[in-house]
Symmetry: C2
Subunit: 139 residues, 2 copies
Amino acid sequence: MLGALLRIPFQALVARIHRDLAAAGYGDLRPAHFTVFQHLDREGSRLTELADRAQITKQSMGYLVDYLERRGYVERVPDPQDARARVVRPTERGRDVERRARATIREVEREWAERLGERRVRELHETLRDLAAYLEGRA
Amino acid sequence: MLGALLRIPFQALVARIHRDLAAAGYGDLRPAHFTVFQHLDREGSRLTELADRAQITKQSMGYLVDYLERRGYVERVPDPQDARARVVRPTERGRDVERRARATIREVEREWAERLGERRVRELHETLRDLAAYLEGRA
DNA sequence: CCATGTAGTAAGACTATCGTACTATCTCTG
DNA sequence: CAGAGATAGTACGATAGTCTTACTACATGG
């Protein structure tokens, strides 16, 4: 059941962010776009870099970024370092989305802490962080 | 980052099950099919029941079950209780998949325990179980 | 025995993803 | 400094998995 146990809170959190963003007028953002924001540096990132981090193909990332660009969440600017590349960077609208998503995560953590206690949520965090570090290291 | 922290081990586990099943000759099973097996009772379950448990539409579940049936992982037998319904139940081939998936999960838990210690993995389990119970309760 | 509810299928659409293949540009090496 | 090979990104076509709407067949309770 471990798979389900990890999936349930993950999906609950994603659904909650989705709901809160929709309520804030960002109903055109779908969960797949969250992974773009998640890997997007504030100063901007290259498409290939985003694709690598998210572990999807450049084409898939391109598809998601195209959508976000059309809707004004990100913009593509030429990379002065490399004429082949462009830098994808969040607009103010995109940065607002990031702020709101972070706020929702904090709120959810508070709710979970209310239910499970501060200590257990902190330990969950730490264990997941160590686990992620281990898993990333061997990927 | 909580979203990512939950996603990383979940996806790692799914990828591992996928890899082990492929190595055992079940390369035609994709992650989406795992959710079918996950909710499938040994004696069989109705399609509608599976869809409800997996929180997807009957049509989507039907699509996944069609595939598994064509490949011989599950069979549909008439439900003696209700002539409208049929019961989806794993074949021997399907039960072998379930056994192997469970074995992989146990193996992964052992590896994590080696890295993090028995205690922390046990606590992770308990916390996730409580969290899942809480989240299911309010869904 | 009829009205309404439920099990499952059908048809069509859409999102997110992939593989293969291409162009433009960069970088390294002889 | 020229060409070879690597890299950034795009194009095209395919597919999986999901949805909505609408339907058929059967069940059940008054």
